[in-house]
């Protein structure tokens, strides 16, 4: 088993209260499914939308986010899967796709000493 990071990018979470409740229900159900099938290593965290970017030799500090809002990372989850292909397949169940967001699937580097 290898580990992968799901980065949730973009996705519009606004809507009517009923739509938001439906959206939430789908996320909770999806996370539960990942957990029940043994693929959820760590549920991860949501990230605040704002932030700072520190850059250059001068270490200048500017307001983030640096990427466009539609690509911004809104949260992450640690996943266990057989390989990258399976991890990518697992991400297909994420409700973020209904809200114009996407999932970035990144393998955690394996260190064999």
């Amino acid at each position: 088993m290898s580990e992968f990071l799901f980065l949730y990018r973009g996705g519009d979470s606004s809507g009517s209260p009923e739509e938001m409740q439906q959206n939430m229900r789908k996320w909770v159900a999806w996370m539960k499914e990942l957990g029940d099938s043994g693929h959820l290593k760590a549920v991860g965290n949501p990230l605040e939308p704002g932030g700072k970017v520190v850059k250059g030799k001068q270490k200048s500090i500017t307001d983030g986010p640096y990427a466009e809002a539609k690509d911004m990372v809104g949260g992450y989850t640690l996943i266990e899967a057989k390989d990258l292909a399976q991890a990518a397949e697992l991400s297909k169940g994420c409700p973020i796709f209904e809200k114009e967001g996407f999932v970035e699937v990144r393998p955690i580097m394996q260190i064999n000493m």
Partner: protein, 420 residues
């Protein structure tokens, strides 16, 4: 670890939205209604982001309210010099010592119940037409988006948007929320009754073909009528009668549309599908409403529904009693639709011939010109007299007026019945 999957109450977000907007508007002042809505939307976005990962908390309502409370305190702190807030907050917001405790107090459970009621009364502002009052109640207190209201009313999004925007302007311009101690409490209460009655009817008789939508609208009307009943001043005989009428009608909803989505008249409904609990509750409220000197249309309509609820079949119904109740209703609130329903009862009581005569005698028949159940009633009565050709003609007119696929299929079945 996966977050635990606590199931949320159905429509929790919608209902909490109404409670929170009402409570925050109380604190911010009615002119800051939009600000209250923003704070609530923020709280939901936050809940969505956190609950996705952490799962649903033990007490979701308290979580949402606490989040909204923090936001509210932030807003008050940040904008206390730039904006004016509710006058009753007064100088409490000027000091850090008093700001948070004041907000906690104003967002306590007891205060919120009154806030919802105040908002309900405020939405029934005399400067607003009844459809605007209903739309505003659905939007603010029931948490429906304009799109969802438009879908329920088979109206365009733009039309509902316009109606709600205008109504909000009137509300925001009304200086303050309606006070439950106001001198015109009784007059406003009767406007609230009317609005809730219309809301219920929109669900019960409305145009939306989707029975889920209709049941939801009826459910909201029942919930808001329940809020009225829990307040000692608002729990008048008319309020109880309105609650009785809603329960007794809602009890028939499961029989009105079957599993296949087909509409059934009172005469053909499977009465075993009626909701006994709602009938019992309706009868209890009707008994309680029989005090005081005022006989309202709600009393009479509830009494009619109670006669139906007691009868095991259409044939075993006390139609004589129903005709006399309709006579009473015509005296209190005459309308062509009430007169048409009276004529149907007359036909049951004294035969189709008398029923047709009663239809012909209706005042303002032209106002029924677009109502599909007017020609459908004529068709039904002609069919009973054996005049199948005439009956078919009436049903065809009704078909042209049908407002939904469900009504259309219902009338087509009647046209087919003319062939048998």
């Amino acid at each position: 670890m996966a977050p635990h999957a606590v199931e949320l109450d159905e429509h929790l977000f919608r209902h909490e939205s109404g409670r929170m907007v009402a409570a925050l508007t109380r604190i911010f002042g009615v002119h800051n209604l939009a600000l209250a809505e923003d704070v609530v939307q923020d709280a939901f976005c936050r809940a969505l982001e956190v609950w996705k990962f952490r799962g649903i908390p033990e007490n979701p309502s308290a979580w949402l309210m606490a989040t909204a409370k923090h936001r509210a305190i932030d807003v008050l702190r940040r904008e206390r010099t730039a904006r004016t807030f509710a006058p009753e907050l007064g100088r409490l917001i000027e000091s850090e010592w008093t700001l948070a405790p004041a907000v906690h107090e104003l967002l306590g459970p007891a205060a919120i119940q009154d806030d919802e009621l105040r908002m309900m009364f405020s939405c029934c502002h005399p400067r607003l037409a009844e459809p605007a009052q209903v739309a505003l109640i659905l939007h603010i207190l029931c948490g429906f988006s304009t799109g969802e209201i438009a879908a329920a009313f088979l109206s365009s999004n733009a039309a509902i948007e316009k109606r709600i925007t205008r109504a909000k302007k009137v509300l925001a311009g009304s200086k303050k929320l309606f006070e439950l101690t106001a001198a015109d409490f009784a007059a406003r209460l009767s406007a609230v009754h009317r609005a809730l009655y219309l809301l219920f009817n929109e669900g019960y008789h409305g145009a939306s073909a989707e029975s889920a939508v209709r049941v939801e609208l009826c459910g909201e009307a029942l919930r808001l009528a329940g809020l009225l009943r829990r307040h000692p001043m608002a729990s008048t005989p008319a309020t109880l009668a309105l609650g009785a009428l809603m329960c007794l009608h809602a009890a028939r909803l499961p029989g009105r549309v079957d599993a296949a989505g087909e509409l059934h008249t009172l005469f053909e409904q499977d009465r075993s599908r009626w909701d006994i609990q709602l009938i019992t509750e309706g009868q209890r409220l009707l008994d309680l409403s029989a005090t005081g000197s005022e006989l309202t249309e709600y009393h009479v309509e509830a009494a009619i529904a109670a006669v139906h609820a007691r009868a095991r079949s259409a044939e075993e119904t006390d139609w004589g009693r129903i005709v006399s109740l309709y006579d009473m209703l015509m005296a209190i609130r005459p309308s062509p639709v009430v007169a048409l329903n009276r004529a149907i009862a007359v036909a049951q009581h004294q035969g189709a011939e008398c029923g047709l005569e009663a239809v012909r005698a209706i005042d303002g028949l032209d106002r029924l010109a677009a109502y599909p159940f007017y020609p459908a009633t004529l068709g039904e009565l002609e069919l009973r007299r054996g005049q199948t050709d005439r009956a078919r003609g009436h049903f065809c007119s009704a078909l042209a007026l049908a407002r939904s696929p469900m009504e259309r299929r219902f009338i087509e079945r009647r046209i087919n019945a003319c062939r048998e």
